[in-house]
Amino acid sequence: MTRYILRRLLQAIPLLFVISLVLFFLMQNMGDPIATMGGRNVTRSADRERLKRQLGLDKPIIVQYLYWLAGNDWAKADLDGDGIAETPGTRRGVLRGDFGLSLVNKKPVTQVIWERLPNTLLLMLTAEAMILIFALLIGIYSALKQYSTFDNIITTVTFLFYSMPVFFFALVTMYIFAVNFKKWGLPYLPTVGMFEPTAGKTPLQVAWHMVLPTATLSFGFIAGYSRYIRSAMLEAMGQDYVRTAKAKGLPKPEIVYIHALKNAALPIVTIIALDLPFLLGGAIVTERIFGWPGMGRLFLDHVSRGDTPVVMGILMMIAVAVVIFQLIADILYAWLDPRIRYT
């Protein structure tokens, strides 16, 4: 097993290199960061040249990629335009942990991402917890009471929620809980931002503001996962060992949760493990609708302005997370199911 893990990690390294190269090249088409640097005024062409030299944007793409990766403090840049390179650079490159400065607001990339990452993580982890709890509850109950009224209602409703696009659900819930509740004088759920500016960033405010975005994010996944859990549980409950357990007289909760659920949970665990890294990217649509200051909006804002360091930082973070989580999912699957052997 250790050899397998090592082999996967080693295979992951060239993969990450290739991905970073592809992403870097794709970023070059995304627009000119210099164009907006003059603030209100259009950048003069002399300034444009100077900025390009300072930021290293006049070099060929492969050289820019090299500087991004390995830094430019071992190379000299020509800052004063006389054609002779004399100033050593200051960046140490990604391989040494330096993601550079944002081209939009000159802050270090790590700081820019760190400002938004906790917001996204808060939303995502809460949503994931809700998804797990509710999907398990609904799926198990639905499997135990197969074909009852509850099961039929749940099946129809989950199909409906599963097919609804996220923004439609968001708009419907906003309409009902925010707009109409306000009209009818009931306490209404807020729809914008993380907290009221007047009340400050208290936990209560954040929790209250989090209700609608979390619900919007979770409902689709709850619907999908609960159906999956239901069918997996049905299959597990039909197995011979469950029949033996019942014949032995074990109490029902023990059969369901300890025997059947453990075996039904295998594919679900891998699905969840594979979905987790994409949480880091934030839910772009949900954050847009609810004005939640998270990674999704950060990404959109900086991509459209061609801010390569920040975008590459976010993308590489997600890429590394995906690779690691795929490996974790495979290992978890092998650990939970002793029949699986990796060569």
């Binding site: 295979q11 993969l15 290739v18 991905i19 592809v22 992403l23 794709l26 970023m27 088409n29 995304m30 627009g31 199909f159 409906l160 599963y162 097919s163 609804m164 696009p165 996220v166 923004f167 439609f168 968001a170 708009l171 419907v172 906003m174 309409y175 925010a178 707009v179 990217g281 772009i284 649509v285 847009r288 609708i289 990404f299 959109l300 991509v303 459209s304 975008v311 993308l315 997600i318 890429a319 995906v322 690779v323 795929q326």
Partner: protein, 319 residues
């Protein structure tokens, strides 16, 4: 020993085996029979036919010019007799726009599914059949494509092709070039999942004896793939293809909602929702009708896909 008296004429035992058994049903006929019994799938299929009729047949009622006609004096009107679905922010009739928008959304869904199908099946078949180095290489490429975020690829391709793809005219309708970009991006970012399914199918079918027999009689590789293995693995491909139409329509809606998709005035169900959340208190009809239509078509496609999956399942015994 006394022989058992032969059965009298006309009893069942007298009939020859050919007459006794029902003629063998092809896969299509079997699938159709099992599909018919699935209530939700039937409902979904009827709903789907109705929606397609609405989108394409409605073109005979409203002209495209009417759908794009802006009339700012009549902006943001509630549903009324004259405008059954209301008007939008520049006074266009929403009913006509949902009809023409439906055409584009459904078209994008179908075409993106075809692109995904072609790439996914090819990659999966080659990877599963040949194995070894080709398999490893293709699987790493597949992983790399999964990692690149869709939105990012879409933004890049949209910027890259922004000016260069002109408006295309098919069947009298003009589409902006962004439609082609969206179809390509959706197709190019969703094929990995299909490729993995096809690959696992090929890996398991390849071990069968009839493939060994085909190889022994000298059947060429392409014939083995296309005439032996592929027809046997068609079931998950069909199910996956059906469900991917739904996901393509949803993706197009998301992308247009973010403002990166088809540009107005060409209507799609997605870009009618763009910015509609600003008017949530004042004009609910802006987002309700396109959103409900998207939900309905995705729901019916999901029902049909579920029914197909049950009907094509080789383990189920019901006829």
């Amino acid at each position: 020993m006394e022989s058992i008296a032969p059965p009298s004429k006309g009893s069942i035992a007298n009939l020859s085996p050919d007459v006794l058994e029902t003629p063998p049903l092809s896969l299509g006929q079997l699938t159709w029979r099992r599909f018919r019994r699935h209530k939700m799938a039937n409902f979904g299929a009827i709903m789907l036919i109705l929606l397609v009729l609405y989108a394409f047949g409605g073109a005979f009622v409203f002209s495209e010019a009417y759908a794009n006609k802006t009339e700012t004096g009549a902006r943001l009107q509630a549903p009324s007799r004259e405008h059954p679905f209301g008007t939008d922010t520049v006074g266009r009739d929403i009913l006509a726009r949902t009809i023409y928008g439906g055409q584009i959304s459904i078209l994008i869904g179908l075409t993106a599914m075809l692109v995904e199908l072609v790439i996914g099946v090819t990659v999966g078949a080659i990877s599963g059949f040949f194995g070894g180095l080709i398999d490893s290489l293709l699987m790493r490429i597949t992983e790399a494509v999964i990692v690149i975020p869709q939105i990012f690829l879409l933004l890049v391709m949209a910027k890259y092709f922004a000016a260069s793809i002109p408006n295309i005219t098919i069947l009298g309708r003009t589409f902006s070039g962004s439609v082609v970009v969206i179809i390509l991006v959706i197709g190019v970012t969703t094929w990995p999942y299909l490729a993995r399914i096809v690959r696992s199918q090929f890996l398991s079918i390849k071990e069968n004896d009839f493939i060994l027999a085909a190889r022994a009689t000298g059947t060429s590789t392409s014939e083995i793939i296309f005439r032996h293995i592929l027809p046997n693995s068609i079931a998950p491909i069909i199910v996956s293809g059906t469900l991917s139409v739904a996901s393509a329509i949803t993706l197009e809606a998301y992308i247009s909602f973010l403002g990166l998709g088809v540009r107005p005035p060409t209507a799609t169900w997605g870009n009618m929702l763009e910015g509609a959340y600003n008017y949530i208190e004042t004009a609910w009809w802006l987002w309700f009708f396109p959103g409900a239509l998207i939900a309905l078509i995705v729901l019916s496609i999901n029902f049909v896909g579920d029914g197909l999956r049950d009907a094509l399942d080789p383990h189920s015994r019901a006829i």
